[in-house]
């Protein structure tokens, strides 16, 4: 259940969607991608109804649980999704490189570790050239080096014009974002940049700043 959410995401920016588990991050993302049944209200993305046919090529989505074929190899998975998207073959190698799976490219996904499978799932979303890329907890459980590399890759995508909406329940990830959407219990507590959040709350640590916001909203209620 989401309440009165309204926000803008600048084109070519990285926006972090942060909040504790169960606060509605995934529901919000599913609504934006257009796979969530909407009981009431309207969701518009890039000037069209969320999930409408013209948007399906323009909006990429990676679920939190890896959604790839576990009985196919990494490359076979990517080849299939590239064909569905109509993306050129060269993209497959580039996507594998971005998620650092060159060594496992011909391995069957079921033989990979959880984190590696998640990266295959992420790689499929990098095949097309979506205007908007919605990533649900893409860096959870990954080692710090890979996390840093992936955030670098996200930044490159944004510089190339893709708008990214990335969820996380780890506040330190907020550092990498231009803009933050802070959620709690289906409501948006704040939409601002990390710097503005620090300035407003007077806290250097972003998780401390988030706590201040929660206290403020509880005091107001």
């Amino acid at each position: 259940m989401l309440h009165g959410l309204s926000f803008d995401v600048a084109a070519g920016s990285v926006t972090g969607l942060l909040g504790p588990s169960g606060c509605g991050k995934t529901t919000l993302m599913r609504a934006i991608v257009g796979v969530q049944v909407i009981e009431a209200g309207r969701v518009e993305v890039l000037g069209a109804a969320a999930g409408s046919p013209p948007l399906r090529a323009r909006v990429g989505y990676v679920t939190q649980a890896p959604s790839v074929y576990s009985d196919l190899s990494v490359r076979e998975n990517l080849r299939y999704f590239a064909r569905v998207l109509g993306a050129p073959e060269e993209r497959i190698g580039a996507a594998i490189e971005t998620v650092a799976l060159e060594g496992q490219a011909d391995q069957v996904v079921s033989s990979l570790s959880g984190g590696q499978s998640a990266r295959v799932s992420l790689a499929t979303a990098l095949l097309g050239e979506p205007d908007l890329l919605v990533l649900d907890e893409p860096t959870v459980g990954l080692d710090p080096v890979l996390r840093r590399d992936l955030w670098g890759a996200f930044r490159d995508l944004a510089s190339a014009g893709t708008t990214l909406l990335i969820s996380s329940h780890v506040m330190e990830e907020a550092e990498h974002c231009d803009e933050l959407l802070l959620m709690r219990d289906g409501e948006l507590l704040a939409t601002e940049s990390p710097a503005a959040l620090r300035a407003r709350t007077g806290r250097e640590q972003l998780d401390q700043a988030f706590l201040v916001l929660i206290e403020q909203s509880e005091a107001a209620a």
Binding site: V33, G34, V35, Q36, V37, I38, G51, P53, R56, A57, V59, Y61, T63, A65, P66, S67, V68, Y69, S70, D71, L72, E76, Y80, F81, R83, V84, L85, G86, V108, T124
Partner: protein, 245 residues
């Protein structure tokens, strides 16, 4: 719809199957094995073996593709790949036809091998051509696929999906005329079997194997097989939801 996406889906499904050699061996080996058992069981009544065996060659792909499709679709639903596909520029028909092409290929191989064994090794006779039996077998495979696709939407677990086999396939096999001629069943069962697509599939196969042609009811039989397949595919497409709660 897009030829590129349909074709990619067919190739993907066949690649998945190729990755599973044990399933391939079972798909191709079990029908000839069962026919060999049947021959031994009926060795005192060779005419009964002729009566049942010929049509069975064309009915195996129905039950095989039913199970394979319902499990595969259930997996697509539970692993999130269906949701991902539904968020991509992929028409539902691309997915359904892709599966159809892949399973038709498997059915051709399965029915071809089974009929070669049945008519070549086991001494079964068919009045009509082997090609006609294989063609009907492919039609039945697609019928089984569309039924499996539709009912898979009602299974939450693989246990349930497997139980749909006795629930949806066995009654049709029992009543289609394979074991007992339909005019010898109690009246109500004759009416029930009139509503089951496998009845018409069996009738067509029986005509081809005993009379050599589809016979006077051939047009009806083939229309029911094709019509039921299309209807079930359409119903199956309705169960592929782009939006879920």
């Amino acid at each position: 719809m897009s030829v590129r996406v349909t074709w990619a889906t067919a190739l993907r499904v066949l690649t998945q199957l190729r990755r599973d050699p044990r399933t391939i061996v079972l798909l191709l080996g079990v029908p000839p094995f069962l026919l060999a058992l049947l021959k031994g069981a009926y060795h005192q009544q060779p005419e009964t073996f002729q009566h049942i065996g010929g049509p069975l060659v064309g009915l195996f792909p129905f039950s095989t593709m039913f199970v394979v499709t319902s499990i595969t679709m259930l997996r697509e639903r539970t692993t999130g790949t269906l949701e991902r596909l539904m968020s991509l520029p992929l028409a539902k028909l691309d997915l359904l036809f892709g599966y159809g092409i892949a399973f038709a290929v498997v059915a051709v191989v399965q029915a071809g091998l089974t009929s070669a064994f049945a008519f070549g090794v086991l001494g079964l006779d068919t009045a009509g051509s082997t090609a006609a039996v294989v063609a009907l077998a492919v039609g039945n495979a697609l019928l089984g696929m569309s039924l499996g696709l539709f009912v898979s939407a009602f299974a939450r677990t693989e246990f349930q999906a497997v139980q749909f086999m006795p629930a949806f396939v066995f009654p049709q096999l029992l009543l289609c005329g394979l074991f007992v001629a339909r005019d010898q069943m109690i009246g109500v069962l004759q009416i029930v079997s009139d509503t089951m697509p496998l009845t018409y599939a069996f009738e067509a196969l029986q005509s081809v194997t005993t009379e050599g042609s589809l016979g006077s009811r051939g047009a009806l039989d083939v229309s029911v097989i094709v019509g039921a397949t299309l209807l079930l595919l359409a119903l199956g497409a309705l169960t592929l939801r782009r939006r879920t709660p």
